[in-house]
Amino acid sequence: MSRISLIITCIVALIVGLSFDVEQVYDDNGDMRLYKALATIGYRSVDHLPDLSIDGVSAIVGEDIVKYGVSKREGEQNSKRQSKHFVCTSCHNLEREDPDLSVSDPEARLAFTLEKGIPLLPATTLYGAVNRTSFYNGDYEKKYGDLVKPARDDIREAIQLCAVECAQGRKLHDWEVESVLAYLWTIDLKLNDLILTDSEKRTVSTAVSGKGMEIDAIQILESKYLKYSPAHFVEPMSRGLNKFNILGDAENGRKVYETSCFHCHYRNQYSYFNLDNSKLTFSFLERKADKYSRYSIYEVIRNGTFSKHGKASYMPRFPKEKMSDQQIEDLRAYISLMSE
């Protein structure tokens, strides 16, 4: 079954990749692309289109880099694996993960990702990344310092920063960056992703068909999604507030554990620290929870683990927009329950 799925996925990817054109107005499902809708109205929302004139650039190559960390240019051998520790999908989803793109709400995201069967991750989905104008926002400057400055307004620099610092890997070649960008343009926002009232839809439709109301349509569309991904690093909760576990919802905690923690830790997927559903594991996490240890869920979720450049995998920290204090408390409640 999995092999058949893989073959079908490859064929679909090949077709999508070969037929991809950043100037396409509609995607393969007939949904109008947000970027093209705005452009049709006369508003160029972003200007980081891929440079397809560079030899070897393609969305297929970009997808390989994003999903598998490998790339190949025709007539050349495979490039060196981008990172020996991570791939983009270690921390980023490739699908829409928020029900309302105009807010960043981890509670709503958990329910939405559960429904879609995708993980809850510490980094923002790459779906719609090309529709954003700002990157490494909020407190990422505290983590990466001046490295953030060139990346904040430049998606290519952001891709490189992600490759080298976040993924602890090598810098991408120009043709690889453009390929990643080309792939990201295959997962850009569509009009159907935005929550529009009937009245707003009529306004947008009028503007797109060239019958006026352009300014109104632009304002509506631009208000329906975030052009940046907010990220605020907060201190771990005070242990005194949660030691009785009266605030947590264990069932919700189970969802966090299985959709977020398991993504990296189940069967040592990306981490040497294995997590499973055994009582041994829950007892361990429960014992460590109230300590100032990297094995405390409060500490490690908020602070992550220490990274050594290019040397080791590490755990990224979850900004409050990616996991709320309540979700952490829910997780604690689940761990406590399962360790009994």
């Binding site: 020996k84 069967r267 040592n268 040497y272 294995n274 055994s278 041994l280 080791a312 995998s313």
Partner: protein, 277 residues
């Protein structure tokens, strides 16, 4: 039946039957994940007690019966290769050991009751050729430097705490002392009881099926008992007590001549560190 790496990695297969690729002396059914390099150092001190132990040798800590420095690498999730150098505790020393381990069955995958791994290894003595005819390292032929070992290991994990393994091994030495046999078939048993997420008690034993390898002839079954510590950072540390001196199968199985009853057992440890490649 030999399953592909992808197949065995499917959900349903039991994970972490043992914490390490070796139990104490015996190979376990565990293989390294693909593209992981394991650097390991193992040490066997001298006799804790008996004639060669006690205070004069600080209970064996001042002696090194055997030392292993080696690398293992996960070619796929189910195929591990290894290269290591051991000092050697038998008559042949300075051993270069090469092994290949293939996991062929995984417990839980397709309702398989056990996991099964096959290990093939060879060791070559690199010690200097002796000028004295009649000793093993006279090396009349270069082939006399070589020994071989094949092991079939079947293991099952019972719940989250307990694991057991049964092994059948074949060991062949190209040259042996007078009145000894080239081929030794052994049966092995091993187990693990996980006390906490990080700490487990491990034990293993190996019994040669040979009429020559009796107590009367000065041979004893291989016994080992240890504590295994695993961390979340890719480290594994093991402390053990065992009666055998050698660290490679071609060394400790044929030359298991230490009698625990006379204090001829030793402290040992293994440090393992994983690296991503």
């Amino acid at each position: 039946m030999c399953l592909s790496g992808a197949a065995l990695a499917q959900d349903g297969a039991v994970y972490g039957t043992f914490g390490d690729r070796r139990i104490i002396n015996t190979q376990s059914i565990e293989t390294l994940p693909a593209r992981k390099l394991d650097f390991r150092i193992a040490h066997r001190f001298g006799d804790l007690a008996g004639d060669a132990g006690g205070w004069p040798t600080f209970y064996g800590l001042e002696n090194a019966a055997d030392v292993l420095i080696g690398f293992e690498y996960g070619v796929t999730d189910n195929l591990t290769i290894g290269l290591g150098r051991t000092k050697g505790a038998g008559p042949l020393k300075q051993l270069i050991n090469i092994f290949v381990k293939q996991k062929v069955l995984a417990q839980g995958y397709n309702n398989m009751p056990v996991s099964l791994a096959v290990v093939g290894m060879t060791s070559a003595s690199t010690m200097q050729k002796s000028e004295t005819e009649g000793v093993l390292h006279f090396f009349d032929s270069p082939l006399h430097r070589w020994n071989y070992h094949l092991g079939v290991h079947a293991a099952r994990k019972f719940g989250e705490r307990y694991s057991a393994q049964v092994s059948t091994t074949w060991t062949y030495r190209n040259i042996v002392p007078a009145n000894d046999e080239n081929t030794i078939i052994s049966l092995g048993l091993a187990g693990r009881a996980q006390l906490t997420k990080a700490i487990g008690i491990i034990l293993d034993t190996s019994y040669p099926m040979s009429s020559l390898r009796t107590r009367d002839n000065g041979f004893y079954p291989v016994l080992g008992l240890g504590v295994e510590f695993t961390t979340g950072g890719g480290h594994s540390f093991q402390m053990n007590f065992t009666n055998v001196e050698g660290l490679s199968e071609t060394d400790y199985i044929p030359y298991s001549q230490s009698n625990i009853g006379e204090g001829e057992f030793r402290l040992g440890f293994t440090i393992s560190r994983l690296f991503s490649l």
